[in-house]
């Protein structure tokens, strides 16, 4: 063990080329995040993983760690702002947890609980977004899409298919599907694709599986996402 950084005073080792997030994940120190998944190239868009590194606010998923870097992560100030970012994600889409199959396994919901979000604070946008049920095995419900582009990256980098992309701009940004009709059923998407497994919310759902794991026995039903991530997924509740 050679080089180290500190996160909230705790010394954490890292290797050259690792980001702050890489080092934190390896040491099981939880930095809230939604668009990051260590299996894919970092994206840096949700901004939940913003930390203060040597006094500067940076995205921990894209910022390379460097020797002696002092990182503030779990401060009230940062968590207050992260809570507001989660609120923004809630109000810009249509997230109705009580009727969502993903409830309990949803990272957006889990991060909101973990950060103590008790109200949306802002007015809901109630956007009109398309639901696409054309694929035999998978639903695409854009109402729950948070534009993290994990499906885009998974399909491009792992499946080699480029099924998903982003179009529009600003608040009009939207997930698009790589087919002439724009429908998932007309693309070469398969339920076995990596891209079908990575959605942190309920925007991409595999059909006929919704309640295989009952409410009450899901990943974040008894532990917060912070506990799950810092202990490792050990309990087995989430397994079928």
């Amino acid at each position: 063990m050679s080089k180290t950084i500190t996160i909230d005073g705790k010394t954490i080792p890292f290797m050259d080329g690792q980001t702050i997030m890489d080092a934190a994940l390896a040491a099981r120190v939880y930095i809230p995040h939604l668009c990051h998944n260590p299996e894919f190239k970092p994206h840096g868009s949700c901004k939940l993983c913003t930390v203060k590194a040597n006094g500067r606010l940076v995205s921990s998923c894209t910022m390379p760690a460097c020797e002696g870097m002092e990182v503030e992560n779990g401060t009230k100030e940062l968590n207050d702002e992260r809570r507001d970012l989660v609120r923004m994600l809630f109000v810009e889409g249509n997230h109705l947890c009580p009727t969502c199959e993903k409830s309990g396994n949803c990272q957006l919901q889990a991060v909101a609980y973990c950060l103590g979000m008790m109200s949306p604070r802002y007015n809901h946008f109630y956007p009109q977004r398309e639901v696409d049920a054309s694929h035999p095995d998978v639903f695409l419900d854009r109402n729950r899409c948070i534009l993290c582009e994990l499906c885009v990256r998974a399909s491009r980098d792992v499946d080699g298919k480029n099924v998903f992309g982003l179009s529009g701009r600003g608040i009009g940004s939207r997930l698009v599907v790589n087919s002439c009709s724009g429908r998932l059923g007309d693309s070469d998407f398969a339920v076995s694709d990596k891209a079908a497994q990575v959605c942190p919310t309920g925007a991409i759902l595999i059909k006929r599986q919704g309640f295989k794991v009952p409410i009450g026995q899901r990943i974040y039903d008894h532990k917060t996402i912070c506990q799950v991530e810092s202990q490792g997924k050990t309990g087995g509740e989430e397994d079928e």
Partner: protein, 610 residues
Amino acid sequence: MEPCEFPHIGEHLAPIMERHGGDATRLLQILREVQDCFHFIPPEAVSCIASHLKLPRAQVEGVAGFYSFLSLSHQGEYRVLFSDNITDNMLGKPELMQYFCNKLWVEPGKVSEDNLVSVDSTSCTGMCDQGPAALVNGWPLTSLDRNRLDLIAELIRMKKPVAEWPAMLFEVRDNIRRPGMLLGEPFEPGAGIRAMLARGAEATLSEMDVSNLRGRGGAGFKTASKWSFCHAAIAEEEGSMICDVGGNPERFIVCNADEGEPGTFKDRVLLASYADLVFEGMTVGARVIGARKGFLYLRGEYRYLLQPLEAVLARRRAAGLLGENILGETGFAFDVEIRLGAGAYICGEESALIESLEGKRGRPRNRPPFPVTSGYKGRPTVVDNVETFACAARIAEKGGAWFAAMGTAQSTGTKILSISGDCARPGIYEYPFGVTVEEILRDCGAEDAHAVQVSGPSGTLVSWQEYGRRIAFEDLPTAGAFMVFHRQREMFAAAHNFTRFFAHESCGFCTPCRVGTQLQKKIMDKIAGGHGTPADLEELKHLGHILGSMSHCGLGHSAANPVLDTLRKFPGTFERKLKALSFEPAFDLDGALETARKITGRDDEWAHLS
């Protein structure tokens, strides 16, 4: 599947595709031409272009959906976009646009029923000194008034091609009011390159260093440092000496002519009348970093400058100032390609600009790596502002000490300001750095000025109490915009306009900016509608804090500046608009009836609740 509207699209597109080859970096250029051809990008064209460039269809759709001047849905054969900058608004844009719409029986933001015309607003078109301005199918219309709009409506009704419209409608004036060392002194094309070759590339970099030239795009990064970093990146790659020329791996030099900051139009004038100076600066920079290829990224609003600029490039090639063996120097090769933007303010951010040059969505990259090490196509790339290159050409010719003698110690040289708003003589003014706001106001004939927005919405609002402040990196840094507001102007209206601008231009990549700029706009709309409360002001401050701290790039970081500045310096303009209540619902009962009123064509007293 819906029936195909353009079954033979391939034949229509063949000449465009052929011209651009199979180069995916030219996607945006191809889409621009398709838009010109069909007045929108038909879905069949998206598929056709995707297969031609071997790109996923979703990627082509993604790019086409990103830029304001491209449209995936039908637009009118004539698309008229009114410049929505605050200065255009102060010159009567809202009334004129409504007048024009009424004349043509079309609603703003919609296409007329016969598909002939669509009318909408667009971000500042850079004609603030000769507004109100608009674009028709991408060509600039200036000094609009009812008479001109009558004529334009008539031309549209007659279906006269835009190319045959009277030239006076498209006249763009330079309005240079105060020339300095860039705009006032004669320049002989080639003088800078000759001096640089005589001195050598390394010594020229030293001159740049001595000049202490800082980037004119607003951020003020030292140009010589940027050029040296690019060197260092190359040297590290090659493990060899810097300042060698020829035969090395690719590196690029890019001129940022995406002058999108509302109120800024000095690059337009530099490109229209001083293009030699700009290209000369690029050529000098190319020699210093050893680039063989340069790009000029020209904002879509300035596409009318494309042909004149191509002509300047052709002339320079003929004169041996571009191409192979420049001025007879063996191995000194450099040329410039112009690429057009398509209506996206964010592409003024250097890494978003590079993405756009590569034919992608204009999304700012994660940094590090910085463009000087990994830019265009992942190669070391220097991106500098138009005015920076013009300065570089002068420095190459006359030396760093000459340049450093002007301005202040930290801000050397001159700065070109584009002045608009409430003043007698709007236009272009070149000052040595260090000039006070007061002096400038006097020169441009601004009486009873209440405030000045320096460097556009992302810059600083200067109130009448601060007119002793100076234009300089150490006090008021600026990219060039200088918008003057008279005492009788409502400063709230300016802040409101700017929040609309940022909400429209946010690229949508990061959460705080995508949603935060919308939230900010919604609150400002609410206050403008007379429903604001003190709690809304607190919410604006709170949002400003999140935007400033959590956003991905400079757009988000500065998106709350106008609101925060105005709240701090002109709190009264907000407070006068507030209802004297502690709480006011955001839901507007009367507003909710608007659709019903529209459908029934009623606007009488009984059709309103309040």
